[in-house]
């Protein structure tokens, strides 16, 4: 590849700055250098007044992504991350647009790849919906004094007494950990997810990368995925889990497949995914045995037969315009649970243009899906799980008010483990050891600490949900599912309100 000149050089938008008065370099501290997995910091020899050579930390200004790892680990608090001045002052051609074109112009015409969910300016509907609360005529309920129930059961329900109820997942908190595969994250992260969900009485999802043999003792809290690559899918794999999820799509990259680069396919990943060490793991865009809803039905029932109808089967799709009829079709095809992932959903590696421009917000998608299933009188036949861009417990509850039975969260799991949102997940260099399997980095995740962090997160959100419910005068969360009357829009126009099925505040 021809080396391009400095015209195309991208000056990283961040770099660490060192306060040498605080820095312990005189005692040969070099923690920041070893902590930075991106190679941004090196040691530069400097001769001091007495003539002694000292090694000072030095920002290379080549690779900083502001993950904050160095600043957090510095024992003397000598580092802060500086944002680089704008290298374009044009209001329309913002620095990222300019840099992206430079990058492509200098890269043999490659696609731009990114990690994490969409960053675009699209409206966050969550922020335009407020909860209704009780005053005077209707006493609010204090969750510290009165019982407040947030348990959910996911799975097919009868529509009347006497009808059959399918196998159910019991969630003590209406939050599950969404699919993040072994490969995208490492085994330590998955173990922490498994232990935390067991402690909190909920579920985590293996993603499409197989189910590592060391974690199978947590099967009762595990949902395994069958995705287009079919990695690691065996009878044992299916039978080791509490539910099976067919992954059709993902919010961050609707309509396209996945790619785990060969460099990341280590011995353990090779064994779990059942592919050779060092080979690329490619997930095709569609399942090559699912070209229609009839085909999906066959796969659903193939899995149900294999599982002897003992566990629910879920189907995960990305939120797209046509989500309502698609969901209706999937429900009629026999799914027990349907997971809908909005365009803000996270990803370890996604083409930038897809991430930023494809799909629809989960708030609109879940409302449309819930309404369609209700209108068709089949809402009870399936549970809806919403995900994609959930940032806090209010978002969870708002999605429930819009029709979700429960939610998946992924990005909050990573953040709870320390992620600084540098968006370089696809590089395998995660400085927090989360989205990497590299020896020396992966060990940065302490499984005990990570388990505690995730358990704490579930408890904290559970408490907040109870508090919010109490303010609304609700003591059982099933009374909130689809209860759009408890939401009011602020700053939404009539069509948005109609799709969400809510009234404007003050109306």
């Amino acid at each position: 590849m021809k080396r391009m000149g400095n015209n195309w050089k991208i000056i990283p938008p961040f770099h660490p700055e060192f306060d040498l008065a605080r820095c312990d370099y005189e005692n040969r501290c070099s923690i920041c250098v070893t902590e930075c997995s991106f190679g941004e910091i090196s040691l530069k020899p400097v001769r001091d007044a007495s003539g002694t050579v000292r090694y000072r930390p030095w920002a290379n200004k080549t690779a900083c992504n502001a993950c904050q790892r160095c600043a957090k680990m510095c024992p003397t608090g000598a580092i802060h991350i500086a944002a680089h001045p704008m290298h374009s002052s044009h209001g329309y051609w913002t620095p990222s647009h300019v840099a992206n074109i430079w990058r492509q112009a200098a890269s043999e015409g490659g696609m731009l790849l990114v990690g994490m969910g969409a960053t675009g300016p699209q409206k966050r509907y969550f922020d335009h919906m407020m909860f209704d609360a009780c005053q005077v005529t209707n006493p609010s309920i204090d969750p510290l004094r009165e019982p407040m129930e947030i348990r959910r059961y996911l799975g097919r329900k009868a529509d009347r007494y006497g009808g059959e109820v399918g196998p159910q997942l019991k969630l003590e908190v209406p939050i599950m950990f969404g699919a993040m595969s072994f490969g995208a994250v490492n085994i330590r992260v998955q173990e922490a997810e498994a232990r935390a969900t067991r402690a909190a009485g909920t579920f985590w999802n293996t993603g499409e990368g197989g189910f590592h043999k060391n974690l199978r003792t947590y099967g009762a809290n595990t949902i395994v995925q069958v995705a287009s690559g079919r990695f690691g899918v065996t009878e044992d794999y299916l039978k080791s889990a509490a539910a099976v999820e067919i992954k059709i799509g993902q919010g961050a990259k609707p309509g396209i497949g996945g790619h785990l680069p060969g460099e990341k396919v280590s011995e353990a990943i090779s064994e779990t995914r059942m592919i050779p060490v060092g080979s690329d793991a490619l997930s095709p865009a569609p399942h090559h045995d699912i070209y229609s809803i009839e085909d999906l039905r066959q796969l659903i029932y193939a899995i149900k037969e294999a599982m002897e109808y003992r566990v629910p089967v879920s189907v995960k799709i990305s939120a797209v315009n046509n989500v309502a009829p698609i969901v209706s079709g999937i429900a009629r095809a026999g799914a027990d649970i349907i997971a809908i992932d909005g365009f803000r959903g996270g990803s370890g590696a996604t083409p930038l243009q897809i991430r930023q421009n494809t799909g629809i917000p989960i708030e609109l998608a879940i409302s449309a899906a819930d309404r369609r299933l209700t209108e068709e009188g089949i809402r009870n036949t399936v549970s809806l799980v919403a995900s994609g861009g959930i940032q806090n417990s209010s978002d969870v509850l708002k999605l429930i008010c819009l029709g979700a039975d429960a939610v998946y969260v992924g990005t909050p799991v990573l953040v709870a483990l320390g992620c600084g949102m540098c968006q370089r997940c696809f590089t395998g260099k995660c400085a927090y050891g989360i989205t990497t399997n590299r020896p020396g980095l992966a060990e940065r995740v302490d499984v005990d600490d990570a388990t505690e962090a995730l358990t704490n997160l579930l408890h904290a959100w559970g408490h907040e949900i109870k508090e919010l419910m109490g303010s609304m005068g609700i003591s059982a969360i099933e009374a909130l599912r689809g209860n759009r009357d408890r939401l009011r829009g602020v700053g939404l126009h009539a069509e948005e309100l109609a799709i969400l099925g809510i009234q404007h505040a003050g109306a």
Partner: protein, 359 residues
């Protein structure tokens, strides 16, 4: 805040409306003059085999809705008798909408295959309520509802309810807080022979309404209470649940307790009927031809007192109403939150042979 009273003579003794009028009158503080109403059972013995429709027409006796509704009714039912419900305007309630009652039966040939007569009637009620300008106030056999905007004793005088006799009466004194005070919005709310008087606010309304719509029940009366009568009707009549199970669905035990007792049936009921749970504070008296149910929300956020004196049962927001009618009672108690009081009326009473109730 609202006031409710129920009087249930399980031996079928008929009493006129003056008793219930007095019982609800002394709870005047619990209302604000924006709604009062009464339900009475055993009121039309001569037409006990026909559905008695009380229909309220907005826009007076020349409302175009009347023709529309009557044409529709004639196309679906045989109307045996129809008449204006007599009203007596007074200083306190000078005017109101136009009320008519119809005694009718479905035209049997028109029932869809497998459709029950009751389903057919429910469909008619829902259709009329959606037409606009006309609202079915009650639609059961041998029962009727009289309600409007005013204090309940004034509404009683407006309809002269002392001229009607029944073995079971309920009354409501309204203090509307979340929905407008209008004639259709006064309690009781009914479907077929089921009538609900309710003190409270239903925070689960949005969930309940969507669930009901799946089964052909449409809430058009702008008041949350409506859902209680429809939920109960769906659970007992369509799904065949016993009263106590229907009450469990509306105000279930905690999961913790269901787990502890290992009660599979209750777990099942709560799983499949999650969207039929009623949240928010409530005290209700729900009456039907075969009896009555008194139910509180799980947290007991509204008062209800029950009492028994001989064959008569009472339920009331306040004890004073009961003591006024019956200073001496055999038993008086305040039911716990979520624990229903279920009163059964012998079939003989419903069928007009009250004497057999004693034997």
């Amino acid at each position: 805040m609202c006031g409710i009273v129920g009087i249930i003579n399980t031996d079928g003794t008929l009493i006129d409306g003056s008793f219930i009028r007095e019982a609800i009158r002394i709870q005047r503080d619990r209302g604000n003059g924006l709604g009062g109403g009464f339900a009475v059972y055993g009121v039309y013995p001569g037409n006990r085999d026909k559905y008695a429709f009380h229909i309220m027409y907005e826009g007076g006796r020349y409302s175009p809705a009347i023709t529309a509704v009557e044409n529709y009714l004639m196309s679906k039912t045989n109307i045996y008798q129809s008449e204006q419900i007599p009203v007596y305007p007074n200083d306190r309630v000078p005017r109101g909408p136009y009320f008519k009652r119809y005694f009718l039966k479905p035209i049997e040939e028109f029932l869809a295959p497998e459709q029950s007569e009751e389903d057919y009637i429910v469909e008619i009620v829902m259709t009329i309520n959606k037409m606009g300008g006309a609202y079915v106030v009650s639609s059961g056999k041998n029962m009727g509802v009289f309600k409007g905007v005013g204090y309940p004793e004034d509404i009683a005088d407006y309809f002269r309810i002392e001229q009607y006799k029944g073995y079971m009466w309920t009354a409501h004194n309204r203090f509307p807080t979340n929905t407008p005070g209008w004639w259709g919005g006064a309690h009781p709310f009914t479907i077929l022979d089921k009538a609900v008087v309710h003190n409270g606010e239903i925070t689960s309304y949005g969930t309940n309404v969507r669930w009901l719509e799946m089964y052909g029940y449409y809430c058009m009366l702008k008041t949350d209470t409506e859902v209680v009568s429809y939920i109960y009707d769906k659970l007992t009549r369509k799904d065949g649940l016993a009263s106590k199970d229907a009450c469990f669905v509306m105000a279930p035990s905690l999961w913790e307790e269901i787990d502890r007792t290992g009660d599979k049936k209750r777990q099942y009921l709560r799983q499949i009927y999650g969207p039929a749970i009623i949240n928010g504070p409530f005290g209700i008296v729900l009456t039907h031809s075969d009896g009555a149910i008194v139910l509180n929300d799980r947290n007991k956020l509204r008062p209800v007192v029950c009492a028994k004196a001989g064959a008569t049962w009472y339920a009331s927001s306040e004890e004073c109403s009961i003591r006024l009618l019956s200073p001496q009672v055999d038993e008086i108690w305040s039911p716990r939150g979520g624990e229903p009081v279920i009163v059964d009326i012998p079939r003989s009473v419903k069928e007009g042979r009250p004497d057999e109730a004693h034997g």
